[in-house]
């Protein structure tokens, strides 16, 4: 260690890193962790921040990539027919991340080659978005639909359009804030921090992040999907009771 008065948080981090990664014998060049590994979507959820913090050994830049669970997306284009705009051509993409964000200590284009940007999927434009099997479309169409997918996701805040900052505190400690909007998809997320030195990945660490619905809303959601028939019956019963109750209350007044 070069610094004599290392903050206790840093020591704690190193200790944590030793606990988390015992199989690695050599000293880690990068360690990182999240302020929380479980984000609960409760009834009052309006979006939240998760703090990613860590430390690096030696010089270099840090890039953080966050991806949500993959899902299929159908992109549809509207065409004008008889004066009305309606969905015409569509292309289905499989395995698109439901959520995507990236943060970097410097603009990634300044210290990473295009090849590495593509390999690490840094920047929404470098995401590997591949049409599902059996899609009939020209390469040109796929390119425009792919761009549209990214644009629509960005408009909903699900692909973060600007690359966030990774801030350094001194030479070793870094932190960045990941923003999860109110409409954030649930599931298992992967947060990967890369240490880049001379256009090369020196070290990387992956941390899981679980986003799940908690409480009565989560129970209702699960119930609606797992026991759809019972949910339907209960919905009707509740509505009938609410209607009857209303007529009783307002009859007296």
């Amino acid at each position: 260690m070069t610094r004599t008065s290392a903050p206790s948080g840093f020591l704690a981090l190193l200790f944590l890193a030793l606990l988390v990664l015992p199989e690695r014998a050599r000293a880690q060049d990068l360690v990182a962790d999240l302020s929380e590994h479980l984000v609960a979507i409760t009834a009052g959820f309006t979006g939240t921040d998760v703090l990613l913090f860590g430390a690096i050994e030696g010089p270099g830049d840090v890039v953080v990539v966050v991806t949500g669970p993959a899902h299929d997306v159908i992109v549809r284009r509207k065409d004008k027919l008889l004066g009305i705009w309606l969905n015409a051509k569509s292309i289905r993409f499989s395995g698109a991340p439901s959520y995507y964000a990236v943060a970097s200590s410097r603009p990634p284009g300044t210290f990473l080659s295009d090849a590495i940007l593509g390999r690490l999927e840094v920047g929404a434009n470098n995401l590997r978005l591949i049409p599902a099997e059996g899609q009939k479309a020209t390469a040109e169409e796929i390119a425009t639909f792919r761009a549209a997918l990214i644009r629509r996701k960005q408009a909903r805040g699900l692909y973060q359009d600007s690359i966030g900052d990774v801030n350094f505190i001194g030479r070793t400690l870094f932190r960045t804030r990941l923003y999860l909007p109110a409409n954030v998809p649930t599931g298992a997320y992967i947060v990967t921090a890369y240490l880049i030195r001379d256009n090369d990945v020196v070290s990387a660490q992956t941390t899981p992040l679980l986003i799940s619905k908690i409480g009565i809303g989560a129970d209702a959601y699960e119930f609606a999907y797992d026991h759809s028939a019972a949910y339907g019956v209960i919905a009707v019963i509740i509505a009938v009771m609410a209607g009857w109750l209303a007529s009783v209350i307002f009859r007296k007044s």
């Binding site: 509207k78 009305i84 644009r151 409409n183 989560a218 609606a224 028939a229 509740i238 509505a239 009938v240």
Partner: protein, 306 residues
Amino acid sequence: MYVYLPIAEMSVNVILILGMGWVVGFLSGVFGVGGGFLMTPLLIFIGIPPAVAVGTQANQIVAASVSGVIAHWRRKNVDLKMGMVLLAGGIFGSTVGVWLFSLLQNLGQIDLIISLLYVILLGTVGLLMLQESVRAILRRRRGVAQRGRLHEHNWLHGLPLKMRFRRSKLYISALLPFVLGVIVGILSAIMGVGGSFIMMPAMIYLLGMPTAMVVGTSLFQVIFVTANVTFLQAYQNQTVDLFLALLLVVGGVVGAQFGSRFGTYLRGEQLRALLALMVLLVCGKLLFDLVATPGDFYSLQYPVLR
């Protein structure tokens, strides 16, 4: 104050939803219609996915119709036999409708069909109502009392399967109310409405039912048809958000109480003219959205993997 809707998967402002329920409830109290035709577009305007708006709205209408029908039942304004025939058609129609809904959703055309149906139906009903009410207002001004024919005989009365409806004092083919029920059932499932704005004029002008029986009987069958839609939408498409429905119900019943009191200050034809203008306003907004160049030509859909 925000609350997360688990099925719609978004946060909404509680006050906004309660307020919308109140306003639509108020209007339905004033005009004596369900208000589904206003609520579903409103929910879509604030960003609720159209499928969830339709499914949830059906659930809300169940509650609103139950509280409405109780009052009419006490006054013996429900023709049970007629209601049952309408209902048989309605159950069949709404089942077909929910199935159609799933099909159109997979084809990516459900939003278009919902909008188109709204534009066509609201446009037609709105224009007819406006014409009729303006005539009535003018007639009242001139002070000429006019009498319409009480009963009209046409080919509809030659249909088979005749049935006697005592409460409505009618002897007509059971096919008529059955087919009417089927049509309204389909619309109910696809549009998230009770369908009274089609059902009631059809009952008066097509079936020739007495006006007093129309509202109660229509509400009676709406309960079961929307209950069927709610169940099937929840079962097949998982598009019923109970939390959203309850918020709408609470806002709606309170608003309806104020509305029905306010409604007594207005004359019938003035009410109908106002309602017609409102219907045309919603229709115009939906039509505009269909023909206006969209901000982005592309949209995303997330297919459900089973």
